[in-house]
């Protein structure tokens, strides 16, 4: 506890300053990879959600059309919102495990291990 409190309140525990780590090309690459995934993905799922809400709000006839039996277009699109949420979750976990975690672990290891 006491070591982490110190780490949290002063500079990084190693020799490099936070600004130096921030300027490190590997850190820039980590930030680029994170933002390059989460920003477009957020735009995508918010856009898809908004499209769905607007259809449910203003296109009642379309949403009430039957696809098969009593299953309507609206129900299918609603269930697709569930599917897309589960798919994006899985994609992000795979991406983070492969592309983000190794780089973050490497940089953190150097910050916390360096100079001790």
């Amino acid at each position: 506890m006491s070591t982490t409190e110190r780490a949290a309140e002063s500079g990084p525990p190693g020799t490099a300053t936070w600004a130096e780590v921030q300027a490190d090309p590997r850190f820039r690459e980590l930030r680029r990879r994170l933002r390059g995934f989460v920003f477009p993905m957020t735009a995508l799922f918010l856009g898809w959600y908004l499209l769905y809400v607007l259809l449910a709000d203003y296109a009642h006839e379309f949403m009430s059309m039957r696809v098969v039996g009593n299953i309507t277009v609206g129900l299918v699109l609603g269930l697709l919102q569930f599917v897309s949420t589960f798919v994006i979750t899985t994609l992000y976990v795979r991406y983070a495990n492969r592309r983000l975690d190794p780089l973050a672990d490497e940089i953190r290891g150097e910050i916390e291990g360096g100079g001790r």
């Binding site: 936070w18 949403m63 009430s64 309507t72 949420t85 589960f86 940089i107 953190r108």
Partner: protein, 543 residues
């Protein structure tokens, strides 16, 4: 006639099953309390829960009685429009997963204010963030406690207001006990037990309903439509609830925005990310929560239409409790007295667990943000004193919510949950996102977006139709607004999100660019490196 009588249930049995739940959780909370010593234990359960455990606890925190009884009932009565809520509630978790959970876990210690004030002037920003945390928690708490009164009438056959007040007080006292003794660890275990009971109970009922219709959703929908008589066809498409006028359509859009952006700004959800040892475990928590919450909402879809098909909308509307009685009535229809007793007890346990989670969040924010960092200016090294303040605060908040719950009992306070989401989406989320991702963001920007979001949301609600001025219903002689006989509304929508959310983003931007303050570049470098790599993040406490 009570629901218990209507459905042939037994209040004594309902109460008995609930008492077993209370007994088991109290034992667990006492066991958990043995290791609760430091501030990190009390606020963050020693950061020792695993991702899956925390994910189950998050779903327990999130799936309130409103989302179980409320959504199933809304689907039974309004069909598709009830289903729309659950989609917003679920998709919202992607905001938490992609943009908030891990970065927050890496940067903060116990509260949302830790992150918001990280690179700003501490005292003003902490005060603002704590104010917003307390506001959201209190609105949410009041809604739950007031709902407890109605649920008691519904399930335990307690009809008079005095008896309901006693039950609300007992719920409040139990909740205070959980929080005082068990801290975050005890509260988390209560959430986990409750979530397992709730989700498995809903799963059994879902399979049962589907089994009755040959596992064919289309047949089930067809039966729900024919049972609903004239206009039953409307159950399968949108518009039955929100399609009435242009204002109600806009209102729905506004609600949808608050739902999808509010979740990742709810303080009691954010605080749960500190109970795991690393950001990677925080990510696993959200993944588990998304699957559990998503599957649960699929269950409520079947349960809602199942209640329409097997119980019938007329029987639900005329039962005590109205739409909220859809799930209990369905349970009685399927499994008789025993299943009704189980589902009733689970619904009650749900209220207890959710209020415990809200209380610990509010007490942590007051003790850690206001007491330790604003009043004592961060100089209080005595963590034991800080935890003592948190415990006292929990008792005060518990007492206030008992009082508020008794006063609000029977009032129409359903809008309070929507208000909590709207404040979270307007005051909290924009500030969190700017803090994490926008280098220039500074103290004035943070204050403008928090106070601007909070004030605009509350003002718009006060002058909206939910508080005054809805037309009087001819059959009941009452207006659907909270206040009767007055009309001072000028804002046309029930939900303020469509105005307050963009306004708060705009204020955060304007406050920043209009301030001569320069953002603290060193602190931003520290925050960015720590949030992305986890260097210097709070570690788990070893016992």
């Amino acid at each position: 006639m009570t629901l218990a009588q209507a459905a042939g249930g037994s209040p004594a049995l309902n109460l008995g099953i609930f008492a077993v739940f209370v007994a088991i959780t109290l034992v667990v909370v006492f066991r958990a309390s043995r290791n609760t010593r430091t501030a990190a234990d009390y606020y963050a359960a020693g950061r020792a829960f695993t991702g899956p455990q925390n994910g189950v606890a998050i779903s327990g925190d999130y799936l309130s009685a409103a989302s179980f009884l409320g959504i199933a009932g809304a689907i039974a009565i309004n069909g598709y429009d009830g289903f729309l809520y659950s989609i917003g509630f679920l998709v919202a978790w992607l905001v938490a997963l992609l943009l908030v959970a891990e970065l927050l876990r890496n940067t903060g210690k116990y509260t949302m204010a830790d992150v918001l004030s990280f690179r700003m002037r501490q005292r003003p920003v902490r005060t603002a963030a704590a104010t917003s945390t307390l506001a959201v928690s209190f609105f949410y708490l009041l809604a739950q406690m007031a709902g407890a009164g109605g649920l008691v009438a519904l399930l335990l056959d307690v009809e008079d207001k005095g008896g309901q007040a006693i039950v609300i007080a007992v719920v409040g006292l139990l909740m205070i006990l959980y929080v005082l003794i068990g801290g975050m660890k005890g509260t988390t275990w209560v959430q986990i037990i409750k979530a397992v009971l709730l989700i498995s109970g809903a799963a059994v009922m879902t399979l049962w309903v589907l089994g009755k219709f040959g596992l064919n959703l289309s047949t089930l929908l067809g039966e729900a439509v024919s049972r609903s008589g004239d206009g039953g066809d409307g159950l399968l498409g949108p518009g039955k609830r929100y399609g009435l006028s242009e204002a109600s359509k806009l209102d729905f859009l506004s609600l949808s925005l608050a739902l999808v952006l509010g979740t990742a700004g709810l303080p009691h959800i954010l605080m749960r990310f500190y109970t795991v040892p690393t950001a990677k475990e925080a990510r696993r928590s959200v993944v588990w929560a998304i699957w559990l919450i998503g599957i649960f909402y699929l269950f409520t879809l079947v349960l809602g239409y199942g209640a329409a098909a097997l119980v019938g909308p007329e029987a639900i509307k005329t039962a005590p409790g109205g739409a909220n009685s859809a799930a209990p009535l369905l349970a009685a229809e399927l499994g008789g007295t025993l299943l009704l007793g189980f589902i009733s007890a689970v619904a009650f346990a749900t209220i207890l667990a959710v209020v415990a989670g809200l209380t610990i969040t509010a007490s942590a924010s007051f003790a850690h943000d206001i007491y330790a960092n604003v009043i004592k200016r961060g100089a209080a090294d005595d963590k034991a004193q800080e935890v003592r303040v948190a415990r006292i605060t929990a008792v005060v908040i518990g007492a206030l919510s008992i009082l508020g719950g008794i006063l609000a009992n029977g009032q129409n306070v359903a809008f309070l949950v929507a208000l909590a989401f709207a404040v979270a989406a307007s005051a909290n989320l924009p500030t969190i996102l700017y803090s994490l991702f926008w280098k220039r963001f500074n103290t004035r920007g943070a204050l403008w977006s928090i106070y601007g979001g909070l004030a605009s949301t509350v003002v718009l609600i006060v002058f909206s139709p939910v508080v005054s001025g809805k037309p009087v219903d001819e059959t009941t002689g009452r207006s659907a607004s909270m206040l009767q006989g007055v009309d001072f509304h000028w804002f046309p929508l029930d939900n303020p999100g469509i105005v307050s959310i963009p306004l708060s983003f705009l204020l955060g931007y304007l406050g920043t660019v209009l301030s001569r303050d320069k953002a603290d570049e060193g602190k931003y470098a520290e925050m960015e490196v720590r949030s992305l790599t986890g260097a210097g993040a709070e570690k788990a406490v070893a016992h």
